[in-house]
């Protein structure tokens, strides 16, 4: 494990450099926007990475809650049902009619299917306390990437469309709300005095996740009433641009993975130090029973 980190770091640096080169030099200039559009290679991959991380946080929070309330079985079944229903629903015409234009049913179906997939994957890899550590890690790194999206968005919009922000722009506004929700999540974590901070934060994450589709629909309808410029444009993309976009995304994912890994280790170590402190005082007292061990013992991960 320890050797993997430097190797991965070097790989990531190389990838990021390569992606930058591709974005600035290799990718063709946009027909309408010229070279200004190249910020898309930072803007879009950051968005995808942020959404992925928030999604991981959501799944980890649900599992943490299910575990704490001993309803893992119920949660498993609910998640499977959601996955199946979601995929089936996207094939039904009435549901397809409801989807905002530009959203392909297959894309929505895949996203919904990812819920049970991620649920079981994360459940297998992380248990107990580590779910909560995963939650805080993904939230923090997610907020960083989300901030990048919100900064690069207006930077792109201004020279191209003449405005910093369009309130009806569904993607940018949804991202802003998501950012606000997760910043409030981090503030709650920091300001809470409770011994059950982790449960409170998990509950907030669930609320946030329930909120996101509602945000999307409310802005979508608002926009159909009040047509607004769409920052970033819709429609298809030149395959060469798509190629660079994907390279950029892979580089960002590697980087995000590295940062998350470091943060995860840091949090785990911090908690172990705390427990070591508490344990130390127990050893000193000299109990007649054998030294008790605390839930988060020194593990190799």
């Amino acid at each position: 494990m320890k050797r993997l980190f430097p190797i991965l770091s070097i790989l990531t640096v190389v990838l990021l450099a390569y992606a930058l080169y591709e974005a600035l030099v290799v990718a063709p200039a946009d027909a309408l926007q010229g070279d200004v559009y190249r910020i898309i290679y930072y803007h879009v991959p950051s968005a995808w990475t942020a959404f992925l991380l928030f999604f991981i946080n959501f799944v980890a929070s649900i599992q943490y809650l299910a575990q704490a309330k001993r309803s893992e079985n119920a949660a498993k079944w609910i998640v499977i049902v959601i996955g199946v229903l979601g995929v089936v629903a996207t094939f039904l015409p009435p549901v397809q009619h409801l989807l905002p234009t530009g959203m392909r049913p297959s894309a929505v179906g895949t996203t919904v299917l990812l819920i049970p997939v991620f649920y079981f994957l994360i459940g297998k890899l992380f248990t107990g306390e580590k779910l909560d550590v995963l939650a805080i890690t993904s939230a923090e790194v997610g907020v960083v990437f989300c901030t990048i999206v919100l900064v690069t968005g207006p930077l792109w919009a201004r020279p191209v469309w003449g405005i910093w922000w369009a309130p009806g722009d569904i993607r940018l506004t949804s991202t802003l709300v998501l950012w606000l929700i997760y910043v409030s999540y981090l503030v709650l974590r920091r300001f809470s005095n409770s011994a059950q901070t982790q449960m409170l934060a998990a509950a907030l994450a669930v609320f946030g996740a329930l909120d996101v589709p509602l945000v999307y629909f409310s802005i979508w309808f608002f926009r159909t009433q009040h047509p607004q410029p769409v920052i970033g444009g819709g429609g298809s993309m030149d395959p060469r641009m798509l190629h660079v976009l994907l390279i950029s995304w892979i580089a960002f994912l590697c980087f995000a993975f590295l940062v998350c890994w470091s943060r995860f280790r840091l949090e785990l170590l911090q908690r172990e130090v705390e427990q070591a402190h508490a344990m130390e005082s127990m050893v000193g007292a000299g109990t007649t029973s054998s030294k008790p061990s605390l839930p988060l013992s020194r593990s190799s991960r």
């Binding site: 508490a278 127990m282 109990t287």
Partner: protein
């Protein structure tokens, strides 16, 4: 199971390996003990010894980091109907009278009608007819009313955290007298207090805590500070 049926030899409250961690600080460091039914236990110790933490864990107000508590063979929250809890704050609404407060809390336990409320208030030597808000009572009266609230639903186990602090001598004596009667009727009582002498001759057992552990259990409040640890 009524109070009379609980055999006096079977431990009613069993605490095993109880650890409570607040960040870097361990308030309880592996407390293990058994407490028999129908006995009056006084819990003593310096500030920070973990007395209140232990009591709150027994009441189900605090989840242990590790370890188990069993009351009547159930977890504290599951056994809540049989537990009565009282602390230094009054747990009452200042703007309502004693009867109004108790009527409301009786609803929480599924008790309707005024009879039980009046009985509880009288048993703590207070007048059910008093209409002024509990906030205007003296500290002693307030503590007694809080005790009335705790015994309202006739619990088998009573958990009292510093019931006698800042209370006038008469009120304190009334309360001790009432607790003694309740113990004689078969209830199990735990009192955390700094005023051990109040309970001398009344309490069946004095439990001494220090630095998050039980260090001694004696029959009397007289205990030399550096006495070697007795077998638990």
């Amino acid at each position: 199971m009524t109070d009379a049926e609980i055999p006096r030899t079977q431990p009613l409250v069993v605490v095993s390996g109880l650890i409570k961690q607040f960040g870097r600080f361990a308030a309880l460091r592996g407390v293990s003990a058994e407490f028999d039914a129908g006995r009056f236990h006084a819990i003593l110790g310096d500030n920070g010894a973990g007395k209140t933490t232990l009591l709150r864990a027994l009441a189900g107000l605090s989840q242990p980091t590790q370890g188990t508590i069993s009351i009547f063979g159930k977890s504290p929250l599951a056994a809540c109907r049989d537990i009565g809890y009282m602390a230094h704050p009054s747990l009452l609404y200042d703007e309502m009278s004693g009867m109004e407060n108790l009527r409301y809390f009786a609803r929480l336990y599924g008790i309707s009608g005024d009879a039980r409320c009046e009985e509880a208030i009288r048993s703590v030597a207070l007048d059910p007819e008093l209409t002024r808000g509990v906030g205007q009572y003296s500290q002693g009266m307030r503590q007694r009313m809080s005790l009335a609230r705790a015994i309202l639903h006739d619990p088998t186990v009573l958990l009292l955290d510093e019931p006698f602090s800042n209370v006038d001598v008469n009120s304190a004596r009334e309360m001790v007298h009432l607790l003694k009667d309740m113990r004689d009727a078969g209830k199990t009582i735990f009192v955390v207090t700094h005023q051990a002498m109040l309970l001398e001759g009344v309490a069946d057992e004095f439990i001494w805590m220090q630095a998050g552990e039980i260090v001694d259990r004696t029959a009397s409040a007289q205990r030399a500070p550096n006495e070697p640890k007795a077998a638990l």
